[in-house]
Point group: C2
Chain length 365, copies 2
Amino acid sequence: MDLTRRELARLAVTGTMLGLARAAEEERRIGYCIVGLGRISLDHFMKAVKMSRHARITGIVSGHREKAERTAAEYGVPARSIYNYENCDRMAGNEDIDAVYIALPNNMHAEYTIRSAKAGKHVLCEKPMATSVEDCQRMIDACRRAGRKLMIAYRCHLEPTNLHAIQIIREGKLGKIQAIESAFGFDCAPGEWRLSKKMAGGGPLMDVGIYSLNACRYLTGEEPVSVEGYASVVNQDGRFAEVEENLSWTMKFPSGVTASCSTTYGGTMAGYFRVHGSQAEMVALPVFNYDGLHLEVSNYGPPSITESNPAQDPYQFVAEADHFAQCILDNKEPVATGEEGLRDMKLIAEIYRSSGAGLHPARGL
Amino acid sequence: MDLTRRELARLAVTGTMLGLARAAEEERRIGYCIVGLGRISLDHFMKAVKMSRHARITGIVSGHREKAERTAAEYGVPARSIYNYENCDRMAGNEDIDAVYIALPNNMHAEYTIRSAKAGKHVLCEKPMATSVEDCQRMIDACRRAGRKLMIAYRCHLEPTNLHAIQIIREGKLGKIQAIESAFGFDCAPGEWRLSKKMAGGGPLMDVGIYSLNACRYLTGEEPVSVEGYASVVNQDGRFAEVEENLSWTMKFPSGVTASCSTTYGGTMAGYFRVHGSQAEMVALPVFNYDGLHLEVSNYGPPSITESNPAQDPYQFVAEADHFAQCILDNKEPVATGEEGLRDMKLIAEIYRSSGAGLHPARGL
């Protein structure tokens, strides 16, 4: 193909313009308003935003004015963009704020997602999505009505070791998947809001067991057709008057894959999954942590796969902050939508129902 | 205390006699009659008896005369001590045979245990004890009526790594136990009797899942108060027309400990257990194999425990052959009685009942 000089000149101009547009887009950072100044906001998400390419902190919602001002100063957030839980609807008029990051006790997720959507903001909401199936649906509806995006902060959907595990399975390297075991738990300190049924909606299943539940779904790419759980309290030390201490559950998937999972607030339980295929076995441990992730595939014969990911603390939160920002910039669906959070919540409700925990204090047998 | 020369002389004589008696006892070896010349007899138990202190092979029951004669020659068993499945009751009159080792397809365990007891022999029966709760009870009754000992060949009850795991728990090194995960399975070759519902009584749960079930019981020292299972078939390749391919189940123990287990005949599934305590976590993997066992206790802080047991193949079978022989010699109860086998069988029946597998072919959903 021969091009005239005029045509070449036109292409050069177009190319330059495209380049400039791309540069401008990279300059355009999504402004996050942080709702709740707890550990995960201060120590993880906000630090990650500093390292991100597409995001910046442009607002704060907190009940602690002094803490909010101190944090605002650190992140260059102007005083007019600091809100409390009463007046935060005013962020509707704040053009610096594109999206909110909601990191509140679980029972406040629905209210602040809905209020943020009504204020015209996109919502990145921490997991678990809410404390009931109904609230999850209301959150989805509110964001849809407002034409705003909703993402649930499932870190693992963007985390390389977890993504590699999914890829290994999809490529058939394990053969046909037969069974999965997974667990995640920790020894919860007394006095935490996590131990309040009202604020948390449940015990370790809501908080960390949800990682195992979600992992079994993304590893298989299937939705469980039935679940059964057992909840209990071993340590009768006053912590577990409202929520379960331990919960083990079993799931069955349409292809026949069965899964066995455990979670606890009363013990040491490194987050892991073990996937048994017809040809090989994969274990990832730890795999739900912020760093130091490790994955191994052992076959009866070679080749085996061993992969360590020593990625440091804020890494996953950078990916999260940038991914949602890009979804907003490019008008794309995030990897973990409200519907994804709703699916887990429906399963959590069913596990609690079958285990007899959740609605009533779990006091063992 | 002053002793006269006469007293000293008497003590010397008594001492010599005691020593002679002990030597005689060590010389007295229990004669095992091997019932069934499959892999576990030929490659494991019989080789182990050669290495044992208290046992010897004194009889063989087999349907293959030539194989029986060849094996008898190797072990110095006289032709008159070779039986087939029709005439084996004649071993009643054979004083060289003290006990039988039953290593037949599961559905033959009850018949040959009962016939052996009636012939006046002690019975060491391979796991699973039988294919039904009723058969287990009949085996216990028959041995009791005959005044003969019955042991189920649960290797792990005598295996050092498993015993150390129990000791670590009992000493409180993990704190209060919260949850256990365990699995054991393998890819079963087509055509094996294990795939016949009639001969095996069930699928991988009967064969290898029973290790996880039994381990959860000896690790906690408790009996489950409820169990729930899911069975399925993933590989519709003709192997699983009668028994399940996969089974995952959950158990709850009186103290509140919950357990999640998996077993398979369609995948790679190294036998392991993971025990989560309030203070530390213990993983033993592999732990149900014949050798190469490995155990680790990881605390949030030190001290940790790492222990490898490279014991070779027949080791566990030597312990088994000698333990039962000593129980007979000393008139003591074996570590794994018929009642122990019966307890597992009752739980297996309940897992099958809840999972919908067992009585009917498991064909997934």
